[in-house]
Symmetry: C3
Subunit: 428 residues, 3 copies
């Protein structure tokens, strides 16, 4: 149970809010690189942390993320013409470069300095891997670029999709560090999903419905360990890393690619779920890549031309009561991603956490909220740089390991949860 | 004309409002029995008096009406799995029985008493006739079950449908006790509707556009008498009973089945219109039943799989100006139910009664509002049990009778407006 | 940049607002005459200045604009039956004439005077040209009828369409006196639109992207002069008249018909754009008329049976990035009207003018806002009749003329901007 004020603190990310300022300390995904596929591509409308922006890639290949609205009279630059080195408002021809600098106001005299004094709010936009990353905070405090492994491996080893979720970011994120629901909600997927099935660890998962949770601090956030019974004298540990504020990874299964998410607030009632899959030591197979494109694993099948899932709240997620009854789809909804989003959206756009009843299995969620709150208040009150800003904090992996019962999970698995380039993940 | 405060008092039925508390003294329809057609059927989402609930019928045939949202983290139990003796949230497997009691929290130890202390808000749900009835008030004050005749006759003698109306319950209800509009709005239906036409009384109805109204108190509410001229020295009386707070019956016509409504608040801007038809002494004919299914009489043709009428505000109720002109459909809208709902919805979700101008023909409405207000305030201020709670108050019928001009309608028709099992209704 | 209070003053036109009262001093278009095509036609729902009304044409050909809602219990008179000399509410048969006077309450005794005391709010509705005009102010101050030339020429010489715009009236209107965007946004149209192309003046327009603006007061509002370079020693002047509060004309091109607009507030977030085309001295050719019907020139292609454009905000105005790139459609949107509406709607329903940055090319807009504000305050504080009420103020024309550089535009073009019946417009 959370007090109302704390629920508001954690869920509101607009400009000037404590949580919004916390988010503005980090690089995070602004959009997929595929959305700006070529120099001079059409601009893309984006809402991030409640701010309406356009992303564009100019004729010279430079990326920019600038205020959506022209400084002149407020027309949307989504209608902009992506011309030689800038984006031109089609209303009166004002032109902006990728830094938001106005470079031309045609109605002014040729020798006028008027344009020089016009600058739109703009944030950096940098391609790393399949993602265009932004940092929406104070330029003077801009941290080094992110170093998440999934974005740094060669392109043939990685795949990222995105999906619009109609809920606050926090309830989506909380699903991402909540290993205990897998046994129920995703039980069908463990048996049949091409990107999940067949791993030995799945049996531990399905056989033990009472995982015990241990949560340990990491430099950038947490490691959430879910312990289930394995063979005699041993435990099966699934370790979920969280890097603040919104990066999570799912523990791996067998030799399947490893996956995870970024949870990016659009506004207080919507977020983007970025879902990635990668393999640190080999290319994804054509079958794996196709399965991801088809919406298997952590990905979703989206309405063509959009990032909205085909199964969404307007069609009751295509609920199938027969498959619910048979257990093929435990909740009656198809696919791991939509199983999560359907329940998280069903809570309402911002769930009322004053009514919840948490249990020990929620200890990862409890700890994460505490860290978020503490970091947001320390930033607000003392200007403290929060965990997860330093790129070294990004060098984490999830792991699924069998350990002797006597060992402390993080002591035993410290290497397994650390990025070791060229080394496979630790996965059962 | 009503003062703003009184309009708000009568139209607001959420938890804690005076009118909401009044509604919570009574049994009323929660849904149709057909919505939970078998043991273990999928749960049904319902909003009643502003509260979001799910109705379900467990694997043993027990009915329950419980809070829509899981006590754990707030996922909707509409996604619930209707398993052995309970409804299981598919997120983390918490399970509830029909009383709202949590019976299982899988993440807890087998000997844990955690679940015992978790209980969702729940209300009784009881099948009588074609309806599942609920009582949403204090369990300590739960009254005996309802005894409306339409719900107690053998199944072959009765039929009930339901329809979503996009307006506050009060303006729908007011149409139900407003006998004076029939001569206009439903004049076409009197001539052509298979469930209305052919009765001798229809001619009195159509010939006299200036009915005189007399309203008399009953134990449970009112009898609204509408007096029209008949043969020399006689009056044609149409008597509409109202049982508080939301049960009304339409006066009968010839040997047609007799009909009426329950008006159930969904929230302050929506209500359910339950429409029933029954015959006290014979089975409905196949033709009558089919006509009801087809949306004739007081019923509506709904969008398949829903309780929303095909003709609704989004399509201007399929307005037909030619049939309006010819008078076949007096308002240009087809069907008695939609003729009513179209006009009532056109007033806006909550009509501004500070602007209305009532006339003597509205005396039933005026009297009913006074009784509702008085009962709501007496309950709030003194805890007084309102009329209509006692099942004896439910034993009323509508009637259409020709009486000598000298007689007081209720003295003369006392038997006609009382349920007499096995006796036909009094109908001209 | 405008202060918030002034933005609110200029954009709010509901009853009792200063700008709303200003609008209520004038005749302006309520609907097109084609919407009430014959005596006894179905009534039409209209929202004007935030007031919900129905327009109707009774069986004797009289026009009326009356409160949408029946005085009895508030049913919408859009469902009314247009019967002998009045509109009858189909609920209980109350009947109203075109002045809003209730003429019949059927439930009342034949000798009752009840109906006499019931009168709905009503405004005059007068057909002049293709438009039904209304005046929504104090009847005691009703000014003479409007005398705009486009509405007074013979029917074969004029054409008017209307289009729903999803923005406040002011940002639509500001586009109407903003001659500087033509060079950009409409550059494609100058070359290809059948109602624009081929005029010699278009070349001046396209060649000089830095028009100089001079704004001069007129009796009824302003003349906005946009000066571009022409042949040696000469200027090409495009003169846009504005008659307060919401009438604007586009400067003509060659022998094309001349055009302009009325911008009528529906409510604070929607307006009607009336678009007219006429020729003062000849009939429109069949080709011209067909082009207007097809949505060329200042007109739009609307969804059949509605006045909503086919290209609208729900479909991103059918944006075509290829035609944007080629310049055929400068913004990627087809058609002059939708090029304007798309950008104006993209600013949001009421653009935040505290953030704008105006330039000398906006001097017409700046001056117009000042006049509107001054007139609204003078009316409110001193009851001053504003400019544009007097029909003599309506006798203006736009003009496109080439003048010697030394001449003051309004001195030189005074005759050109004045209606001279039977004389052609001054157009290059």
């Amino acid at each position: 149970m959370l007090r109302r004020e704390i629920n508001e603190l954690l869920t509101q990310t607009g400009p000037g809010t404590p949580m919004g300022e916390l988010f503005r300390q980090y690089w995070f995904p602004a959009c997929l690189a595929e959305e700006l596929p070529e120099d001079g591509a059409p601009p893309v409308r984006l809402k991030l942390l409640g701010e309406r922006m356009v992303a564009f890639r100019d004729s010279y290949g430079r990326y920019g993320l600038i205020d959506e609205f022209c400084a002149h009279r407020g027309a949307s630059l989504w209608f902009g013409r992506n011309e030689d080195g800038g984006l031109r408002c089609p209303y009166h021809g004002w032109k902006y470069d990728t830094t938001g600098q106005c470079t031309e106001v045609p109605s002014e005299a040729d020798n006028s300095s008027f344009a020089e004094n016009v600058k739109l709010t703009a944030y950096p936009l940098v391609k790393i891997g399949d993602i265009l990353w932004t940092y929406m905070g104070d330029p003077a405090k801009q941290p080094p670029l992110p170093e998440y492994e999934f974005a740094l491996v060669p392109p043939e080893q990685t795949y990222t999709s995105k999906r619009w979720q109609q809920s606050n970011w926090l309830q989506a994120f909380e699903g991402g560090i909540d290993s205990s629901h897998v046994t129920f909600l995703h039980s069908g997927g463990l048996k049949s999903d091409p990107l999940f099935k067949g791993a030995k660890g799945n049996q531990y998962n399905l056989n033990d419905t009472k995982p015990f949770f241990e949560v340990a601090d990491s430099d950038g956030g947490l490691f959430v360990g879910a312990r289930r019974n394995a063979e005699e004298g041993q435990y099966y540990w699934r370790i979920t890393p969280w890097v603040m504020p919104n990066f999570t990874m799912v523990p791996p299964r067998g030799d399947h690619p490893i996956h995870g998410h970024f949870w990016v607030p659009i506004d207080d009632e919507n977020c983007w779920a970025y879902s990635f899959d990668y393999h640190p030591v080999r290319a994804l197979t054509p079958e794996e890549r196709q399965a991801m494109i088809d919406g298997h694993g952590v990905h979703s099948k989206n309405i063509p031309g959009t990032y909205r899932p085909v199964a969404n709240m307007d069609n009751d997620y295509l609920m199938n009561r027969e498959k619910q009854k048979s257990g093929e789809w435990y909740s009656g909804v198809e696919g791991i991603a939509i199983q999560d989003s359907s329940l998280q959206e069903s809570m309402g756009p911002i769930v009322d956490r004053t009514k919840e009843r948490l249990v020990p299995a929620d200890s990862g969620i409890i700890k994460a909220r505490q860290k978020l709150r503490k970091a947001a208040l320390a930033l607000r009150d003392h200007g403290t740089t929060p965990p997860g800003v330093d790129p070294k904090h990004h060098h984490v992996r999830s792991a699924a390991v069998v350990l002797p019962q006597a060992e402390a999970f993080l002591d035993a698995a410290r290497e397994d949860v650390t990025v070791r380039p060229g080394m496979p993940v630790s996965s059962v």
